[in-house]
């Protein structure tokens, strides 16, 4: 098991390097370097340009160096926790992203948990009572959930709650808590608001998961070992939960890998609509104002998070499914 994990971590490194290259390309893509934009902005607002500061910034980001040197410098600084400077906020990027990334991670984790908690029982029910009206109804809801993009769902929900219930569901905190320091009351307030984005982003994935579980479980239920167990007189509930369900939910663990990028994508755009204090709105703003160091750092972190998530899911899968462990041992 340990060797498997170590091997898996080593595989991760080239991926992370490739991701950093792409993030760096995104930083460099807009024409002209960010200092030109910065000085242009300063001279527009009539502020004096500090030549010394300019020189030091130039040196810090290696703007006179060739491209690959700039990348190496950027990557080196990145590894040491220096993510560059946000020119829009005039702050180090590091001070801007921490809480927002944490919020994004919180929402993604909650959403993932929510989708599992909802989809597993429903999927089992749909498979066991195949073609009942509940099954048909759930399939229908699932289709709608799949077809409605997150942000449109958010938009419609926002409108319905505003127009008919008279409340604004945007944001993650009530106004009185948004600037308050963290304490129990704030956490409770957060929980009160958190379910909205979680449900919005979770719906589509819940639908997908229900289909996966239902399909897998239907295949399993036809297998002879189920008949054998039933013939032996095992109670139906215990029989289903103990054997076929265990096999049928295995693929869910392996789907974390491709679910995470989609979740993070979905949250990014839903957050813009609902105005949540996560990475999405700030990333959009950074991109619009060409504050590329901030934007690039966000993209780098979001992608790195997905890689990390994939790693966790692979380890979980190996833990749940002995076949993968043994295969890994043989390869070694």
């Amino acid at each position: 098991m340990l060797t498997y994990i170590i091997r898996r971590i080593f595989i991760m490194i080239p991926t992370l390097i490739a991701i950093s290259v792409i993030s760096f390309i995104i930083i460099e893509l807009p024409p002209g370097d960010f200092l030109t934009a910065y000085t242009a902005e300063l001279s527009m607002s009539g502020e004096a340009i500090d030549q010394v500061e300019l020189e030091s910034l130039k040196k810090r980001f290696g703007l006179d160096e060739p491209l690959y040197m700039r990348y190496l410098l950027w990557a080196w600084n990145f590894l040491h926790g220096d993510f560059g400077h946000s020119f829009e906020w005039n702050k180090p990027v590091r001070d801007l992203i921490g809480e927002r990334l944490a919020m994004s991670v919180t929402i993604s984790t909650c959403t993932l948990l929510f989708t599992w908690l909802v989809s597993v029982p429903i999927g089992i029910y749909s498979a066991v009572r195949q073609y009942s009206w509940v099954d048909h109804f759930l399939t229908f809801i699932g289709f709608i959930g799949l077809a409605t993009p997150n942000f449109l769902f958010a938009l419609v929900l926002l409108w319905v709650s505003y127009a008919y219930l008279g409340m604004n569901v945007g944001g993650l905190f009530s106004p009185e808590y948004s600037e308050a320091p963290w304490d129990l009351a704030k956490v409770l307030d957060l929980l009160k608001h958190l379910w909205i984005p979680v449900v919005i982003v979770g719906t589509a994935h819940t639908a997908k998961f229900i289909r996966i579980i239902r399909g897998n479980l239907l295949d399993e239920l036809k297998k002879p070992y189920v008949t054998t167990a039933r013939a032996k007189g095992l109670p139906e509930t215990r029989l289903i939960l103990k054997y076929p369900v265990r096999v049928a939910i295995n693929p869910l663990v392996s789907t974390i890998g491709w679910t995470l990028p989609e979740l993070i994508s979905g949250i990014a755009i839903t957050a813009v609509v609902l105005n949540l204090p996560t990475t999405g709105p700030l990333l959009l703003r950074a991109l619009m104002s060409q504050d590329m160091q901030l934007a690039g750092t966000f993209i780098m972190f979001l992608s790195a998070l997905t890689v990390l998530g994939t790693l966790i899911s692979d380890i979980l899968l190996a833990w749940v499914d002995p076949r993968i462990r043994y295969e890994a041992r043989e390869v070694k």
């Binding site: 991926t15 490739a18 938009l155 419609v156 604004n168 990028p261 990014a268 997905t306």
Partner: protein, 367 residues
């Protein structure tokens, strides 16, 4: 007798006919097919079908609610559908604009009317519209937007752009996917590893932030048409990986089949084996993947334009239409601005239904 003829018909049928028969049994897939055909016809002939051109501004009718179509006149007699003239009025209490019908006015909805002139497919000039009303009556099926432009007409024009982005984007990803997936599967070795690692890295990126990063790099002074092509390219640069994986998987499993070996012994070259023997055997799978990829493209474009980093005016897509509806208070006052959402959902659902139906139909082992 009847039965054996049926059986014979089944045996004589070509693969295509069999697929079509299986497909027809799928009710949802047929609904999806009708929807798609309808949407494409609408968007192809939108100049003629839309009562107004997409940029005609009715300055005295900003944020007008959908026009009421009436069937009964003042005496309660049934007439052919007509509309009343509408005048802007300010509610003195709430300071809000509202629109009141002018009593007694009567403008029947007529077919084939002359109206805003347009250039049909940029080829022919014309001013004939399928339906409309005589001025000063106005017919806004879905209401108007901030600048008094007819939302129904704009939805039709918007679907044209959104659907075409879906088509072009998928065509480009198909090309990339076929070439890279094909090389990867057929050549194998280090080329295969390289392409597979690239695909894995691309799939690690959360697609919307990546699209956002790439789209935001476009300079603001670019022409709208150039932006349109760049967006298409960006979408397909991220979207080709699924196709490439599918093509590679199929090629690898087919490469070892006897008929390929036979073709090689018969002296066929690589090109001939790929295009003559391998590709036709999974064309149906390609079609399925492509059908399921189009809604992703449409959604991606809508999302980007909605955020304001996708297509730009004067190009009108469903996403740029929804950009008007970003603000809760705007939506609460003018809920009809959300109507383009229905077009997006209909498009996505239709393609998903067709894709699912096709997948079941082309798989000979499915029941």
């Amino acid at each position: 007798m009847e039965e054996s003829r049926e059986a014979q018909k089944y045996l004589d049928a070509s693969t295509r006919q069999l697929i079509w028969w299986r497909y027809k049994k799928h009710a949802l897939a047929m609904i999806g097919l009708y929807l798609i055909v309808g949407l494409y016809v609408f968007s192809m002939f939108c100049e003629f079908l839309a009562p107004y051109s997409k940029d005609t501004r009715h300055f005295d009718m900003t944020y007008a609610s959908p026009t009421k179509i009436r069937l009964f006149d003042d005496e309660g007699k049934l007439k052919r559908p007509f509309v009343r003239e509408v005048k802007m009025d300010v509610d003195l209490k709430t300071q809000q604009i509202r629109y009141l019908e002018v009593a007694g006015t009567h403008y029947p909805i007529r077919l084939f009317v002359r109206g805003d002139s347009y250039e049909f497919w940029s080829l022919w000039e014309g001013n004939l519209h399928l339906f409309g009303v005589d001025a000063p009556g106005r017919l806004f099926l879905f209401g108007t937007d901030r600048m008094g432009r007819d939302l129904f007409s704009r939805c039709l024009y918007g679907s044209r752009i959104s659907l075409s982005i879906g088509m072009f984007g998928v065509a480009l990803s198909l090309l990339l996917g076929l070439v890279l997936g094909g090389v990867s599967g057929y050549v194998g070795g280090w080329v295969d590893s390289l392409i597979q690692r690239t695909i894995e890295v691309i799939r690690c990126f959360p697609s919307i932030p990546l699209w956002m990063g790439l789209a935001a790099a476009m300079p603001p002074h670019w022409h709208a048409l150039k932006v349109y092509f760049m967006i298409t390219i960006i979408l397909s640069l991220v979207g080709w990986t699924d196709l490439a994986r599918m093509v590679r998987g199929k090629l690898i499993s087919l490469r070892e089949e006897e008929f390929v070996l036979a073709a090689r012994f018969a002296g066929a070259g690589h090109t001939r084996i790929i295009f003559r023997h391998l590709l036709p055997s999974f064309t149906s799978h390609i079609i399925v993947t492509v059908t399921l990829a189009i809604p992703h493209m449409v959604l991606a474009e809508t999302a980007l334009s909605f955020l304001g980093i996708g297509l730009r005016p004067p190009i009108t897509s469903l996403g740029t239409l929804l950009k008007e509806a970003q603000n809760v208070t705007t939506i609460a006052l003018y809920p009809w601005l959300l109507i383009p959402v229905a077009f997006v959902i209909a498009t996505v659902l239709a393609f998903n239904f067709v894709g699912d139906g096709l997948r079941d139909a082309v798989d000979p082992y499915s029941r």
